[in-house]
Protein backbone atom coordinates (compact mmCIF):
# COMPACT_ATOMS: atom_id res chain seq x y z
CA UNK A 1 0.00 0.00 0.00
CA UNK A 2 1.87 3.04 -1.20
CA UNK A 3 -1.20 5.07 -0.13
CA UNK A 4 0.00 5.07 3.49
CA UNK A 5 3.37 6.66 2.79
CA UNK A 6 1.70 9.04 0.36
CA UNK A 7 -0.89 9.99 3.00
CA UNK A 8 1.76 10.97 5.56
CA UNK A 9 3.69 12.91 2.95
CA UNK A 10 0.47 14.69 1.92
CA UNK A 11 -0.57 15.36 5.52
CA UNK A 12 2.79 16.99 6.20
CA UNK A 13 2.48 18.97 2.98
CA UNK A 14 -1.10 20.08 3.84
CA UNK A 15 -0.09 21.30 7.29
CA UNK A 16 3.09 23.03 6.14
CA UNK A 17 1.41 24.76 3.18
CA UNK A 18 -1.95 25.35 4.94
CA UNK A 19 -3.99 26.96 2.17
CA UNK A 20 -6.97 29.17 2.98
CA UNK A 21 -9.49 26.50 2.12
CA UNK A 22 -8.08 23.91 4.52
CA UNK A 23 -7.64 26.55 7.23
CA UNK A 24 -11.32 27.51 6.84
CA UNK A 25 -12.40 23.86 7.06
CA UNK A 26 -10.33 23.32 10.21
CA UNK A 27 -11.66 26.55 11.75
CA UNK A 28 -15.25 25.50 11.03
CA UNK A 29 -14.67 22.04 12.51
CA UNK A 30 -13.34 23.61 15.69
CA UNK A 31 -16.05 26.27 15.85
CA UNK A 32 -18.89 23.78 15.38
CA UNK A 33 -17.60 21.12 17.76
CA UNK A 34 -16.34 23.47 20.51
CA UNK A 35 -19.63 25.36 20.49
CA UNK A 36 -21.52 22.08 20.67
CA UNK A 37 -19.37 21.11 23.67
CA UNK A 38 -20.10 24.46 25.34
CA UNK A 39 -23.85 24.03 24.86
CA UNK A 40 -23.79 20.42 26.02
CA UNK A 41 -21.82 21.55 29.11
CA UNK A 42 -24.42 24.21 29.93
CA UNK A 43 -27.17 21.59 29.76
CA UNK A 44 -25.35 18.40 30.69
CA UNK A 45 -23.34 19.51 33.73
CA UNK A 46 -26.30 20.88 35.74
CA UNK A 47 -28.37 17.88 34.69
CA UNK A 48 -25.58 15.52 35.72
CA UNK A 49 -25.21 17.34 39.05
CA UNK A 50 -28.94 17.11 39.66
CA UNK A 51 -29.00 13.39 38.91
CA UNK A 52 -25.92 12.83 41.08
CA UNK A 53 -27.17 14.60 44.19
CA UNK A 54 -30.89 13.99 44.32
CA UNK A 55 -33.02 10.92 44.83
CA UNK A 56 -36.48 10.69 43.29
CA UNK A 57 -38.89 8.12 41.90
CA UNK A 58 -37.90 6.90 38.48
CA UNK A 59 -34.30 8.04 38.89
CA UNK A 60 -32.98 4.57 38.08
CA UNK A 61 -34.91 4.46 34.84
CA UNK A 62 -33.74 7.92 33.91
CA UNK A 63 -30.10 6.94 34.50
CA UNK A 64 -30.49 3.92 32.24
CA UNK A 65 -32.05 6.14 29.58
CA UNK A 66 -29.30 8.79 29.74
CA UNK A 67 -26.60 6.11 29.68
CA UNK A 68 -28.26 4.46 26.70
CA UNK A 69 -28.49 7.77 24.84
CA UNK A 70 -24.68 7.92 24.90
CA UNK A 71 -24.94 5.40 22.09
CA UNK A 72 -27.14 7.60 19.88
CA UNK A 73 -26.09 6.96 16.27
CA UNK A 74 -24.97 10.26 14.67
CA UNK A 75 -26.90 9.49 11.50
CA UNK A 76 -30.14 9.18 13.50
CA UNK A 77 -29.45 12.49 15.26
CA UNK A 78 -28.75 14.03 11.86
CA UNK A 79 -31.99 12.69 10.47
CA UNK A 80 -34.02 13.94 13.45
CA UNK A 81 -32.38 17.36 13.25
CA UNK A 82 -33.01 17.45 9.49
CA UNK A 83 -36.69 16.62 9.94
CA UNK A 84 -37.02 19.36 12.57
CA UNK A 85 -35.09 22.02 10.63
CA UNK A 86 -36.31 21.19 7.11
CA UNK A 87 -38.63 23.70 5.53
CA UNK A 88 -41.24 20.96 5.66
CA UNK A 89 -40.55 20.48 9.39
CA UNK A 90 -41.85 22.28 12.49
CA UNK A 91 -38.77 24.52 12.82
CA UNK A 92 -38.22 25.23 9.14
CA UNK A 93 -39.15 28.89 9.57
CA UNK A 94 -35.85 29.41 11.40
CA UNK A 95 -34.03 28.84 8.08
CA UNK A 96 -31.21 27.01 9.81
CA UNK A 97 -30.83 23.95 7.56
CA UNK A 98 -27.48 23.82 5.73
CA UNK A 99 -25.87 26.31 8.12
CA UNK A 100 -23.13 25.81 10.73
CA UNK A 101 -25.77 26.50 13.40
CA UNK A 102 -27.70 23.40 12.31
CA UNK A 103 -24.49 21.38 12.65
CA UNK A 104 -23.92 22.78 16.15
CA UNK A 105 -27.47 21.83 17.16
CA UNK A 106 -27.06 18.28 15.85
CA UNK A 107 -23.73 17.77 17.60
CA UNK A 108 -25.04 19.29 20.84
CA UNK A 109 -27.92 16.77 20.78
CA UNK A 110 -25.42 14.01 20.13
CA UNK A 111 -23.06 14.77 23.02
CA UNK A 112 -25.33 16.20 25.73
CA UNK A 113 -26.23 12.67 26.93
CA UNK A 114 -22.51 11.84 27.09
CA UNK A 115 -21.73 14.91 29.18
CA UNK A 116 -24.78 14.32 31.39
CA UNK A 117 -24.12 10.63 32.01
CA UNK A 118 -20.38 10.90 32.60
CA UNK A 119 -20.56 14.02 34.79
CA UNK A 120 -23.32 12.34 36.80
CA UNK A 121 -20.96 9.44 37.51
CA UNK A 122 -17.98 11.68 38.39
CA UNK A 123 -20.07 13.90 40.70
CA UNK A 124 -21.92 11.02 42.32
CA UNK A 125 -18.68 9.24 43.24
CA UNK A 126 -17.40 12.40 44.90
CA UNK A 127 -20.77 13.02 46.55
CA UNK A 128 -20.62 9.59 48.17
CA UNK A 129 -17.12 10.36 49.43
CA UNK A 130 -18.24 13.70 50.93
CA UNK A 131 -21.62 12.45 52.16
CA UNK A 132 -20.74 12.30 55.87
CA UNK A 133 -19.13 15.73 55.94
CA UNK A 134 -22.04 17.27 54.06
CA UNK A 135 -24.47 15.63 56.45
CA UNK A 136 -22.57 16.60 59.63
CA UNK A 137 -22.28 20.22 58.51
CA UNK A 138 -25.79 20.17 57.03
CA UNK A 139 -24.56 21.93 53.87
CA UNK A 140 -27.36 23.32 51.67
CA UNK A 141 -27.85 21.64 48.26
CA UNK A 142 -26.60 24.49 46.09
CA UNK A 143 -23.38 24.86 48.07
CA UNK A 144 -22.90 21.11 47.90
CA UNK A 145 -23.20 21.04 44.12
CA UNK A 146 -20.84 24.01 43.84
CA UNK A 147 -18.23 22.30 46.00
CA UNK A 148 -18.59 19.05 44.06
CA UNK A 149 -18.12 20.76 40.70
CA UNK A 150 -15.07 22.66 41.91
CA UNK A 151 -13.45 19.57 43.40
CA UNK A 152 -14.32 17.37 40.43
CA UNK A 153 -13.22 19.97 37.87
CA UNK A 154 -10.48 17.88 36.30
CA UNK A 155 -12.72 14.87 35.98
CA UNK A 156 -15.37 17.08 34.39
CA UNK A 157 -12.79 18.53 32.02
CA UNK A 158 -12.08 15.00 30.81
CA UNK A 159 -15.83 14.48 30.40
CA UNK A 160 -15.98 17.56 28.14
CA UNK A 161 -13.00 16.28 26.16
CA UNK A 162 -14.83 13.00 25.62
CA UNK A 163 -17.77 15.01 24.28
CA UNK A 164 -15.48 17.04 22.04
CA UNK A 165 -13.87 13.87 20.72
CA UNK A 166 -17.22 12.42 19.77
CA UNK A 167 -18.38 15.68 18.16
CA UNK A 168 -15.31 16.45 16.10
CA UNK A 169 -15.07 12.86 14.84
CA UNK A 170 -18.65 12.29 13.72
CA UNK A 171 -19.73 12.62 10.12
CA UNK A 172 -23.23 11.14 10.03
CA UNK A 173 -25.07 14.06 11.61
CA UNK A 174 -23.24 17.04 10.10
CA UNK A 175 -23.35 15.71 6.55
CA UNK A 176 -27.18 15.54 6.67
CA UNK A 177 -27.95 18.88 8.33
CA UNK A 178 -24.92 20.71 6.91
CA UNK A 179 -25.02 19.28 3.40
CA UNK A 180 -21.21 19.34 3.07
CA UNK A 181 -21.46 22.61 1.09
CA UNK A 182 -18.07 23.91 -0.03
CA UNK A 183 -16.89 27.01 1.85
CA UNK A 184 -20.05 27.01 3.97
CA UNK A 185 -20.65 23.78 5.89
CA UNK A 186 -17.72 21.56 4.94
CA UNK A 187 -15.84 20.29 7.98
CA UNK A 188 -12.91 17.88 8.32
CA UNK A 189 -14.99 14.70 8.53
CA UNK A 190 -17.26 15.54 5.60
CA UNK A 191 -14.20 16.54 3.55
CA UNK A 192 -12.69 13.14 4.35
CA UNK A 193 -15.92 11.42 3.26
CA UNK A 194 -15.91 13.45 0.02
CA UNK A 195 -12.30 12.63 -0.88
CA UNK A 196 -12.97 8.96 -0.11
CA UNK A 197 -15.91 8.97 -2.51
CA UNK A 198 -13.69 10.60 -5.13
CA UNK A 199 -11.36 7.64 -4.68
CA UNK A 200 -8.55 9.91 -3.50
CA UNK A 201 -7.72 7.68 -0.54
CA UNK A 202 -4.30 9.20 0.15
CA UNK A 203 -5.73 12.72 0.44
CA UNK A 204 -8.62 11.41 2.55
CA UNK A 205 -6.22 9.70 4.95
CA UNK A 206 -4.00 12.79 5.01
CA UNK A 207 -7.00 14.86 6.10
CA UNK A 208 -7.66 12.19 8.75
CA UNK A 209 -4.13 12.63 10.07
CA UNK A 210 -4.64 16.40 10.18
CA UNK A 211 -7.91 15.86 12.11
CA UNK A 212 -6.07 13.67 14.59
CA UNK A 213 -3.45 16.39 15.00
CA UNK A 214 -6.23 18.91 15.73
CA UNK A 215 -7.71 16.65 18.40
CA UNK A 216 -4.22 16.23 19.88
CA UNK A 217 -3.70 20.00 19.97
CA UNK A 218 -7.02 20.59 21.71
CA UNK A 219 -6.24 17.94 24.32
CA UNK A 220 -2.72 19.29 24.79
CA UNK A 221 -4.11 22.81 25.22
CA UNK A 222 -6.50 21.61 27.92
CA UNK A 223 -3.72 19.70 29.64
CA UNK A 224 -1.42 22.73 29.73
CA UNK A 225 -4.33 24.84 30.97
CA UNK A 226 -4.78 22.38 33.80
CA UNK A 227 -1.09 22.35 34.66
CA UNK A 228 -0.98 26.14 34.70
CA UNK A 229 -4.03 26.26 36.94
CA UNK A 230 -2.50 23.73 39.33
CA UNK A 231 0.76 25.65 39.47
CA UNK A 232 -1.04 28.93 40.21
CA UNK A 233 -3.06 27.20 42.88
CA UNK A 234 -0.04 25.80 44.64
CA UNK A 235 2.30 28.68 43.92
Amino acid sequence: MQDFAEAFRLAFHLVSQMDDELAAIIALSLRVSLTAVAISALIGLPLGALLATTRFRGRGGLLVLVNALMGLPPVVVGLLAYMMLSNAGPMGFLQLLYTPTAMIIAQAILITPIVTALSRQVLEDLNTEYAEQFASLSVPWATRVGALIVDARYGLLTVLLAGFGRAVAEVGAVIIVGGNIAHLTRVMTTAIALETSKGDLALALALGIVLLAIALSVNAAVMSLRLTAERTAHG
Partner: protein, 283 residues
Protein backbone atom coordinates in the same frame (compact mmCIF):
# COMPACT_ATOMS: atom_id res chain seq x y z
CA UNK B 1 -7.88 26.35 42.49
CA UNK B 2 -10.76 28.42 41.24
CA UNK B 3 -8.80 29.37 38.15
CA UNK B 4 -9.81 26.28 36.23
CA UNK B 5 -13.44 26.89 36.98
CA UNK B 6 -13.05 30.48 35.83
CA UNK B 7 -11.27 29.39 32.66
CA UNK B 8 -13.95 26.79 32.06
CA UNK B 9 -16.65 29.41 32.48
CA UNK B 10 -14.84 31.81 30.15
CA UNK B 11 -14.49 29.11 27.53
CA UNK B 12 -18.20 28.32 27.77
CA UNK B 13 -19.23 31.95 27.47
CA UNK B 14 -16.90 32.38 24.52
CA UNK B 15 -18.32 29.31 22.82
CA UNK B 16 -21.89 30.49 23.25
CA UNK B 17 -20.95 33.96 22.03
CA UNK B 18 -19.44 32.47 18.88
CA UNK B 19 -22.55 30.36 18.35
CA UNK B 20 -24.81 33.36 18.78
CA UNK B 21 -22.95 35.39 16.16
CA UNK B 22 -22.91 32.71 13.45
CA UNK B 23 -26.30 33.19 11.78
CA UNK B 24 -25.61 36.88 11.23
CA UNK B 25 -22.92 36.25 8.62
CA UNK B 26 -25.21 34.46 6.13
CA UNK B 27 -24.67 35.39 2.48
CA UNK B 28 -27.09 38.03 1.24
CA UNK B 29 -27.38 36.54 -2.25
CA UNK B 30 -27.17 32.79 -2.38
CA UNK B 31 -29.15 29.80 -3.55
CA UNK B 32 -29.17 26.13 -2.61
CA UNK B 33 -28.95 23.69 -5.49
CA UNK B 34 -29.91 20.10 -4.70
CA UNK B 35 -27.75 18.03 -7.02
CA UNK B 36 -26.06 14.70 -7.51
CA UNK B 37 -22.74 13.28 -6.48
CA UNK B 38 -21.59 12.86 -10.09
CA UNK B 39 -21.71 16.59 -10.86
CA UNK B 40 -19.92 17.36 -7.59
CA UNK B 41 -17.32 14.57 -7.46
CA UNK B 42 -16.30 15.04 -11.09
CA UNK B 43 -15.30 18.61 -10.27
CA UNK B 44 -17.81 20.17 -12.71
CA UNK B 45 -19.26 22.54 -10.12
CA UNK B 46 -15.81 23.70 -9.02
CA UNK B 47 -15.20 24.57 -12.67
CA UNK B 48 -18.44 26.34 -13.64
CA UNK B 49 -19.78 27.90 -10.43
CA UNK B 50 -17.03 30.51 -10.00
CA UNK B 51 -17.92 31.80 -13.51
CA UNK B 52 -21.59 32.14 -12.57
CA UNK B 53 -20.78 33.73 -9.22
CA UNK B 54 -18.49 36.21 -10.95
CA UNK B 55 -21.12 37.09 -13.54
CA UNK B 56 -24.04 37.53 -11.16
CA UNK B 57 -22.71 37.85 -7.61
CA UNK B 58 -24.99 35.00 -6.55
CA UNK B 59 -23.33 32.32 -4.44
CA UNK B 60 -24.40 28.77 -5.28
CA UNK B 61 -24.42 26.30 -2.40
CA UNK B 62 -24.49 22.74 -3.69
CA UNK B 63 -25.86 19.86 -1.66
CA UNK B 64 -24.63 16.77 -3.50
CA UNK B 65 -26.59 13.63 -2.71
CA UNK B 66 -28.17 10.81 -4.73
CA UNK B 67 -30.95 11.89 -7.12
CA UNK B 68 -33.62 10.19 -4.97
CA UNK B 69 -32.54 12.10 -1.87
CA UNK B 70 -32.08 15.35 -3.83
CA UNK B 71 -35.67 15.15 -5.09
CA UNK B 72 -36.92 14.33 -1.58
CA UNK B 73 -35.03 17.31 -0.15
CA UNK B 74 -36.45 19.59 -2.85
CA UNK B 75 -39.96 18.31 -2.10
CA UNK B 76 -39.35 19.38 1.50
CA UNK B 77 -38.57 22.88 0.13
CA UNK B 78 -34.93 22.52 1.22
CA UNK B 79 -33.50 23.93 -1.99
CA UNK B 80 -34.15 26.51 -4.69
CA UNK B 81 -33.06 24.55 -7.75
CA UNK B 82 -32.96 20.83 -8.55
CA UNK B 83 -30.20 19.62 -10.91
CA UNK B 84 -30.22 15.84 -11.28
CA UNK B 85 -30.25 12.96 -13.78
CA UNK B 86 -33.36 10.80 -13.70
CA UNK B 87 -35.71 12.19 -16.33
CA UNK B 88 -38.79 10.17 -15.37
CA UNK B 89 -38.48 11.10 -11.69
CA UNK B 90 -37.84 14.75 -12.61
CA UNK B 91 -40.95 14.89 -14.78
CA UNK B 92 -42.93 13.34 -11.95
CA UNK B 93 -41.52 16.02 -9.62
CA UNK B 94 -42.81 18.74 -11.96
CA UNK B 95 -46.12 16.98 -12.66
CA UNK B 96 -46.84 16.70 -8.94
CA UNK B 97 -46.46 20.46 -8.66
CA UNK B 98 -43.11 20.64 -6.88
CA UNK B 99 -41.14 22.05 -9.82
CA UNK B 100 -41.76 24.88 -12.29
CA UNK B 101 -40.45 23.47 -15.59
CA UNK B 102 -37.78 20.94 -16.44
CA UNK B 103 -35.01 21.72 -18.95
CA UNK B 104 -32.35 19.50 -20.50
CA UNK B 105 -28.90 20.81 -19.54
CA UNK B 106 -26.27 18.32 -20.64
CA UNK B 107 -25.59 14.63 -21.07
CA UNK B 108 -22.90 12.05 -20.92
CA UNK B 109 -23.16 8.31 -20.68
CA UNK B 110 -22.97 5.42 -18.28
CA UNK B 111 -20.35 2.73 -18.58
CA UNK B 112 -19.95 -0.67 -16.94
CA UNK B 113 -16.52 -1.04 -15.40
CA UNK B 114 -15.06 -4.37 -14.36
CA UNK B 115 -11.99 -6.38 -13.34
CA UNK B 116 -9.36 -7.34 -15.97
CA UNK B 117 -10.05 -11.09 -15.50
CA UNK B 118 -13.49 -10.57 -17.10
CA UNK B 119 -14.91 -14.05 -16.41
CA UNK B 120 -18.27 -13.38 -18.15
CA UNK B 121 -16.45 -12.10 -21.25
CA UNK B 122 -18.18 -8.74 -21.62
CA UNK B 123 -15.15 -6.52 -22.22
CA UNK B 124 -15.42 -4.50 -25.41
CA UNK B 125 -19.17 -5.01 -25.72
CA UNK B 126 -21.56 -2.20 -26.64
CA UNK B 127 -24.66 -4.16 -25.61
CA UNK B 128 -25.56 -3.17 -22.03
CA UNK B 129 -28.50 -5.52 -21.43
CA UNK B 130 -26.75 -8.43 -23.15
CA UNK B 131 -23.65 -7.91 -21.03
CA UNK B 132 -25.66 -7.79 -17.83
CA UNK B 133 -27.31 -11.06 -18.83
CA UNK B 134 -23.84 -12.60 -19.28
CA UNK B 135 -22.75 -11.24 -15.88
CA UNK B 136 -25.85 -12.77 -14.30
CA UNK B 137 -25.38 -16.12 -16.05
CA UNK B 138 -21.74 -16.29 -14.95
CA UNK B 139 -22.78 -15.16 -11.44
CA UNK B 140 -19.98 -12.60 -11.61
CA UNK B 141 -20.16 -10.19 -8.68
CA UNK B 142 -21.98 -6.94 -9.43
CA UNK B 143 -21.98 -3.96 -7.05
CA UNK B 144 -25.13 -1.84 -7.22
CA UNK B 145 -25.71 1.61 -5.74
CA UNK B 146 -29.00 0.39 -4.26
CA UNK B 147 -29.81 3.93 -3.12
CA UNK B 148 -32.60 5.10 -5.44
CA UNK B 149 -30.18 7.44 -7.22
CA UNK B 150 -30.34 8.29 -10.92
CA UNK B 151 -27.63 5.74 -11.63
CA UNK B 152 -29.47 3.11 -9.59
CA UNK B 153 -32.71 3.74 -11.48
CA UNK B 154 -30.84 3.40 -14.78
CA UNK B 155 -29.23 0.17 -13.61
CA UNK B 156 -32.58 -1.34 -12.61
CA UNK B 157 -34.07 -0.45 -16.00
CA UNK B 158 -31.14 -2.20 -17.70
CA UNK B 159 -31.58 -5.34 -15.58
CA UNK B 160 -35.24 -5.32 -16.54
CA UNK B 161 -34.30 -5.11 -20.21
CA UNK B 162 -31.89 -8.01 -19.65
CA UNK B 163 -34.68 -10.05 -18.06
CA UNK B 164 -32.72 -10.66 -14.87
CA UNK B 165 -34.34 -10.64 -11.42
CA UNK B 166 -31.61 -9.10 -9.29
CA UNK B 167 -33.68 -9.22 -6.11
CA UNK B 168 -33.40 -13.01 -6.17
CA UNK B 169 -29.62 -12.77 -6.59
CA UNK B 170 -29.14 -10.29 -3.73
CA UNK B 171 -26.18 -11.18 -1.48
CA UNK B 172 -25.37 -14.10 -3.81
CA UNK B 173 -23.58 -12.25 -6.62
CA UNK B 174 -25.61 -9.01 -6.63
CA UNK B 175 -24.43 -6.65 -3.88
CA UNK B 176 -26.30 -3.46 -2.99
CA UNK B 177 -23.92 -1.02 -1.29
CA UNK B 178 -26.63 1.51 -0.46
CA UNK B 179 -24.16 4.35 -0.90
CA UNK B 180 -22.91 6.96 -3.34
CA UNK B 181 -21.13 6.42 -6.66
CA UNK B 182 -17.63 6.84 -5.27
CA UNK B 183 -18.24 4.57 -2.30
CA UNK B 184 -19.75 1.94 -4.59
CA UNK B 185 -16.75 2.15 -6.92
CA UNK B 186 -14.42 1.75 -3.93
CA UNK B 187 -16.39 -1.33 -2.90
CA UNK B 188 -16.56 -2.70 -6.45
CA UNK B 189 -12.82 -2.33 -7.00
CA UNK B 190 -12.25 -3.90 -3.57
CA UNK B 191 -14.31 -7.01 -4.26
CA UNK B 192 -13.66 -7.33 -7.99
CA UNK B 193 -17.29 -6.58 -8.90
CA UNK B 194 -18.75 -5.03 -12.05
CA UNK B 195 -20.21 -1.55 -11.48
CA UNK B 196 -22.44 0.70 -13.54
CA UNK B 197 -21.12 4.26 -13.24
CA UNK B 198 -21.50 7.54 -15.06
CA UNK B 199 -18.46 8.28 -17.19
CA UNK B 200 -17.67 11.60 -15.46
CA UNK B 201 -17.29 10.01 -12.05
CA UNK B 202 -15.22 7.19 -13.53
CA UNK B 203 -12.81 9.49 -15.37
CA UNK B 204 -12.24 11.62 -12.29
CA UNK B 205 -12.14 8.65 -9.89
CA UNK B 206 -8.69 8.09 -8.41
CA UNK B 207 -8.95 4.59 -6.94
CA UNK B 208 -9.50 2.65 -10.18
CA UNK B 209 -7.05 -0.12 -9.31
CA UNK B 210 -6.71 -2.36 -12.39
CA UNK B 211 -10.36 -1.83 -13.37
CA UNK B 212 -11.24 -0.82 -16.91
CA UNK B 213 -14.34 0.16 -18.84
CA UNK B 214 -15.89 -3.11 -20.05
CA UNK B 215 -19.15 -1.99 -21.67
CA UNK B 216 -19.83 1.36 -23.36
CA UNK B 217 -21.51 2.90 -26.37
CA UNK B 218 -25.03 1.45 -26.00
CA UNK B 219 -27.83 3.96 -26.64
CA UNK B 220 -29.52 2.66 -23.49
CA UNK B 221 -26.56 4.03 -21.49
CA UNK B 222 -27.41 7.64 -22.34
CA UNK B 223 -27.34 9.86 -19.25
CA UNK B 224 -29.37 13.08 -19.44
CA UNK B 225 -29.15 15.81 -16.79
CA UNK B 226 -32.07 18.14 -16.16
CA UNK B 227 -32.58 21.32 -14.19
CA UNK B 228 -35.72 22.86 -12.70
CA UNK B 229 -36.73 25.44 -10.19
CA UNK B 230 -38.57 24.45 -7.04
CA UNK B 231 -42.06 25.96 -7.29
CA UNK B 232 -42.46 29.15 -5.22
CA UNK B 233 -46.22 28.51 -4.88
CA UNK B 234 -45.37 25.26 -3.10
CA UNK B 235 -42.37 26.60 -1.22
CA UNK B 236 -42.71 30.30 -0.35
CA UNK B 237 -39.11 30.49 0.88
CA UNK B 238 -37.72 29.67 -2.59
CA UNK B 239 -35.43 32.37 -3.96
CA UNK B 240 -37.19 32.43 -7.31
CA UNK B 241 -35.30 35.30 -9.00
CA UNK B 242 -31.83 34.06 -8.03
CA UNK B 243 -32.73 30.46 -8.86
CA UNK B 244 -34.09 31.47 -12.25
CA UNK B 245 -30.96 33.44 -13.09
CA UNK B 246 -28.86 30.34 -12.41
CA UNK B 247 -31.11 28.29 -14.69
CA UNK B 248 -30.99 30.99 -17.39
CA UNK B 249 -27.22 31.13 -17.13
CA UNK B 250 -26.60 27.39 -17.33
CA UNK B 251 -28.99 27.00 -20.30
CA UNK B 252 -27.51 30.04 -22.04
CA UNK B 253 -24.36 30.28 -24.15
CA UNK B 254 -22.10 31.12 -21.24
CA UNK B 255 -23.16 28.21 -19.07
CA UNK B 256 -23.22 25.73 -21.94
CA UNK B 257 -19.70 26.77 -22.97
CA UNK B 258 -18.55 26.49 -19.37
CA UNK B 259 -19.81 22.89 -19.24
CA UNK B 260 -18.17 22.13 -22.58
CA UNK B 261 -14.83 23.51 -21.47
CA UNK B 262 -14.55 21.20 -18.45
CA UNK B 263 -12.01 18.49 -19.20
CA UNK B 264 -9.92 16.01 -17.26
CA UNK B 265 -6.78 14.75 -19.07
CA UNK B 266 -8.14 16.22 -22.28
CA UNK B 267 -11.43 14.32 -22.01
CA UNK B 268 -14.68 16.27 -21.99
CA UNK B 269 -16.89 15.00 -19.16
CA UNK B 270 -20.29 16.53 -19.96
CA UNK B 271 -21.88 17.51 -23.27
CA UNK B 272 -24.21 20.51 -23.15
CA UNK B 273 -27.52 19.99 -24.95
CA UNK B 274 -29.92 22.69 -23.77
CA UNK B 275 -32.60 23.48 -26.34
CA UNK B 276 -32.13 27.12 -27.44
CA UNK B 277 -35.85 27.36 -28.30
CA UNK B 278 -36.85 26.46 -24.77
CA UNK B 279 -34.23 28.85 -23.50
CA UNK B 280 -35.96 31.89 -24.96
CA UNK B 281 -39.18 30.94 -23.22
CA UNK B 282 -37.27 30.60 -19.99
CA UNK B 283 -35.56 33.97 -20.34
Amino acid sequence: MRNTVKLLATALTLGVAIAATTPAQAEDKSIIVQSTTSTQNSGLFDHILPMFEKATGIKVNVVAVGTGQAIKNAQNCDGDVLFVHAKAAEEKFVAEGYGVKRYDVMYNDFVIVGPPADAPGVAGSNDAAGSLKKIADAKATFASRGDDSGTHKKELSLWKAAGVDVKAASVDWYRETGSGMGATLNTGVGMGAYVLTDRATWISFKNKGDFKIAVEGDKALFNQYGIMQVKPEKCPNVKAAEGQSFIDWILGAEGQNAIKSYKIDGQQLFFPNADPGEMKQAG
